[in-house]
C-alpha cells in the first residue's frame, strides 16, 4: 500500500491563542445499521473493544473508539493501519444482517486544537454551547464550522479533536487559524 499522507501534511499553527495541529490520518469506518441490535454491540466489542456509545457520545479506549453519529450511524475510530482488520472483523460480526461498514479514512482530515482557549476557538466557528457544563469529554458534536460540516469531541478539558472532509481541510485549517489569531481571546468560558 502507498504511504498515507494527510491533506495538509502535518500543518501546525502555534502562534495563536490555541495550538492548531493537522494530524496524521487516522482510521475511520462509517457504520450504518440498527444500533439497538445485539450483533451490532458484539461486532463493535470485537472490532475495537468498546461498548455502544450513548446518544451524542463517543466511547474511546486509547486510539480506538466508537462515536454516535445519528440514530442509525456510528463512526469507528482506530489507527490508520488497523482499518482493514477492523473492517473484516465488523463484516464477520454483522453476518447476514442488514448493516453497512465503509472505510472513510481517506475522505477525512483530522485536527487537534490544544490549549486553554480551545473552547473559544471552536465557539467562534460553530453554533454550539461549548461551556464545560454543556460539552465535555465523552461527548461528540456534529455541526457546522462556518460553512462546512465538521464533528469534534474533547479529549480532555483543554484539547479537542476535530474531523472534517478532506476536500475542505485547507479551509478548516484557515478558519481555525483565524479564530485562534494572537490577541483574539474573548474570555467567555473563563471562570
Amino acid at each position: 500500500m502507498s504511504e498515507a499522507i494527510s491533506a495538509l501534511n502535518g500543518a501546525v499553527f502555534k502562534e495563536g491563542i490555541a495550538e492548531i495541529l493537522g494530524l496524521d490520518p487516522i482510521g475511520m469506518i462509517s457504520i450504518r445499521g440498527d444500533l439497538s441490535a445485539s450483533y451490532m454491540k458484539k461486532a463493535l466489542k470485537k472490532a475495537v473493544g468498546v461498548g455502544m456509545p450513548g446518544i451524542r457520545e463517543i466511547s474511546l479506549a486509547g486510539d480506538k473508539g466508537v462515536a454516535w453519529m445519528s440514530p442509525d450511524e456510528l463512526l469507528l475510530i482506530c489507527p490508520y493501519t488497523d482499518v482493514a482488520n477492523a473492517l473484516e472483523s465488523l463484516k464477520k460480526g454483522f453476518g447476514d444482517n442488514h448493516a453497512l461498514a465503509v472505510n472513510v479514512s481517506d475522505a477525512r482530515a483530522v485536527f487537534r486544537i490544544k490549549g486553554p482557549n480551545t473552547r473559544e476557538v471552536l465557539a467562534k466557528l460553530a453554533p454550539v454551547d461549548l461551556s464545560p457544563q454543556a460539552f465535555g469529554p465523552g461527548m461528540i458534536r456534529r455541526t457546522r464550522l462556518a460553512q462546512v460540516p465538521a464533528a469534534f469531541w474533547m479529549e480532555d478539558t483543554d484539547t479537542a479533536q476535530l474531523v472534517c472532509f478532506r476536500s475542505v481541510a485547507q479551509y478548516v485549517f484557515d478558519l481555525l487559524k483565524t479564530a485562534a489569531q494572537p490577541g483574539s481571546e474573548v474570555g467567555f468560558y473563563r471562570s
Binding site: 446518544i55 451524542r56 453519529m69 445519528s70 440514530p71 453554533p127 456534529r142 455541526t143 457546522r144
Partner: protein, 110 residues
C-alpha cells in the same frame, strides 16, 4: 433567529444548523388524481401569519428529518416531533392551543 431541538438526536441549535423543508403534512396526490388535486399538491401552500407546521432537516448534524410547529411572526417554536407521522401529536396541539387560544386549526392536516 429560530432555536430548534432535533427530536432525533436531541441537539438544540439555531436554524443555520438545519435546513427548512417547507410545509408539513401534505397529502400526496399522484396517478389517478384529478388535475386540480395534483395542482394543489404540487403548488398550493399555506402561508399563514401565525401558527405553521413545517418539515426541517438537521442537515449539519444527524442528517435526519423532523417536524416543527412554530409561529411565523414571533418565531416562537411550540415543539418539534418525529417525521414518521402524518398527524400532529396531541401534546404539540395542546402546546399550540395553550399559547394561541384563538388558533382555529389553520395549517393543520385536513
Amino acid at each position: 433567529m429560530l432555536i430548534l431541538t432535533c427530536p432525533n438526536c436531541g441537539v438544540t441549535a439555531e436554524e443555520t444548523e438545519f435546513h427548512a423543508g417547507g410545509e408539513a403534512h401534505l397529502k400526496r396526490f399522484g396517478p389517478g388524481a384529478t388535475d386540480a388535486e395534483f395542482e394543489s399538491y404540487l403548488f398550493m401552500r399555506e402561508n399563514p401569519k401565525g401558527v405553521h407546521f413545517e418539515r426541517w432537516r438537521h442537515v449539519y448534524g444527524c442528517g435526519k428529518w423532523f417536524h416543527a410547529a412554530r409561529d411565523t411572526v414571533t418565531l416562537e417554536v411550540f415543539g418539534t416531533y418525529t417525521a414518521q407521522t402524518s398527524t400532529i401529536p396531541q401534546d404539540i396541539l395542546d402546546k399550540v392551543r395553550d399559547r394561541r387560544p384563538n388558533w382555529q386549526g389553520q395549517g393543520a392536516p385536513r
